[in-house]
């Protein structure tokens, strides 16, 4: 008697609806998640399996590049401010630095070598995708950067600067996650803003 059950809910909806709606704010989630991923300088690729998030072909350390070396996100994800796609760094831009920088620690040397080999073989690296919005939702990155400033990345992607291995902090595929923010900031909630 599913329908019966549903109708029970039906009469209590006001209360339940309110409950369902308050989900933790992205900022809070980011902070909490950052706490359990403090950057450790020496991490071999072997360790990456024990870390959150998918294991990448090269153990690329966002925490070192962004956290320690203070590289701005847009240095690599260059098109984020002008295009709907942030873009991922070309092999060339990686090599731009790593032609010289071979890594101080042995565990780093190994990974950088992988990069150089791939470059010499003219073989692009197939990164595992961590964040992907459902394909029926269009997310224009540039609009969000324009509105929230160049460092707004973490409001969705979490504090990448402290992640040895990037993982999903927020379920960006939950429409509720987008809506929370749009509501807080009193931004257009029109469906065809994203769905077309």
């Amino acid at each position: 008697m599913r329908k019966l059950a549903f109708l029970g809910v039906g009469s209590l909806l006001l209360a339940l609806g309110a409950l369902a709606i308050d989900s933790p704010t992205p900022a809070a989630q980011a902070a909490q998640s950052a706490a359990d991923t403090l950057p450790a300088w020496k991490l071999a690729a072997g360790d990456s399996g024990s870390l959150k998030g998918p294991r990448q072909p090269i153990f690329f350390r966002h925490d070192i590049h962004v956290g320690v070396n203070k590289m701005p996100c847009q240095y690599c994800h260059s098109s984020v401010a002008e295009s709907s796609e942030p873009g991922i760094p070309t092999m060339a831009s990686c090599m731009g630095c790593h032609l010289i920088i071979g890594g101080s620690d042995s565990s780093h040397k190994v990974e950088i070598k992988k990069l150089r080999d791939a470059w010499n073989a003219k073989q692009p690296i197939e990164w595992i995708r961590v964040h992907s919005v459902a394909r029926h939702a269009h997310f224009p990155h540039m609009r969000h950067i324009k509105a929230l400033g160049p460092n707004a990345c973490q409001s969705c992607h979490g504090d990448v600067a402290r992640m040895p291995q990037v993982f999903k902090v927020n379920n960006i595929n939950n429409m509720g996650f987008c809506i929370t923010c749009h509501l807080e900031r009193k931004i257009n909630r029109d469906c065809t803003a994203c769905h077309y």
Binding site: G10, S11, L13, L14
Partner: protein, 169 residues
């Protein structure tokens, strides 16, 4: 099996006889007796003379709750995320009347059922002597009592025209 209540159980085949017996019991000022019947019967009802069942209050309450739920749900949900369709106002009464009505009927009837259950439970039947024929063609009267009283009641029932009297202990 709950312990049985001691008392006298009389069976009747004739309606007038049963009614007479009930009248007699009430004349003695008794109200604790129980009358069994296979069907709803007005003569018996009059004889027993209990007030009208309060179950209708449950119905009323349920119905009203339904209407309110109907109003609240439709209005709140329309305004929670205002979407314009067909150039009509975002929240508007006429189509929502349907929901008020349906929920009224639904909750009304459900709470009525709840009513029966609760009210019947108020006067439990466990342990009272019972005979299968009461759900067939006989009328039964059970009076909780013991000893001499029981004997007098039995005599009274016999006189009234009972087809059989049994003592439960």
């Amino acid at each position: 099996m709950a312990r049985t209540v001691p008392g006298v159980l009389a069976a009747f085949e004739h309606i007038d006889a049963a009614c007479d017996a009930i009248q007699a019991l009430r004349a003695q000022g008794r109200t604790d007796f129980t009358v069994y019947a296979a069907a709803h019967n007005h003569e018996l009802e009059e004889a027993v003379g209990l007030p009208v069942s309060p179950v209708r209050l449950y119905t009323l309450f349920g119905g009203l709750t339904g209407v309110c739920a109907g109003v609240g749900m439709t209005y709140w949900m329309s305004l929670d995320w205002p979407l314009l369709v067909g150039g009509k106002p975002i929240a508007t009464i006429p189509p929502y009347v349907v929901f008020m009505f349906e929920l009224m009927v639904l909750l009304g009837s459900l709470s009525t059922v709840v009513g029966i259950v609760l009210l019947s439970l108020a006067k439990p039947t466990t342990g009272l002597a019972y005979d299968p024929r009461f759900s067939d063609d006989q009328i039964g009267i059970f009076v909780p009592c013991a000893g001499a009283e029981a004997a007098s009641l039995e005599r009274m029932f016999k006189d009234a025209g009972s087809v059989g009297v049994r003592h439960a202990a």
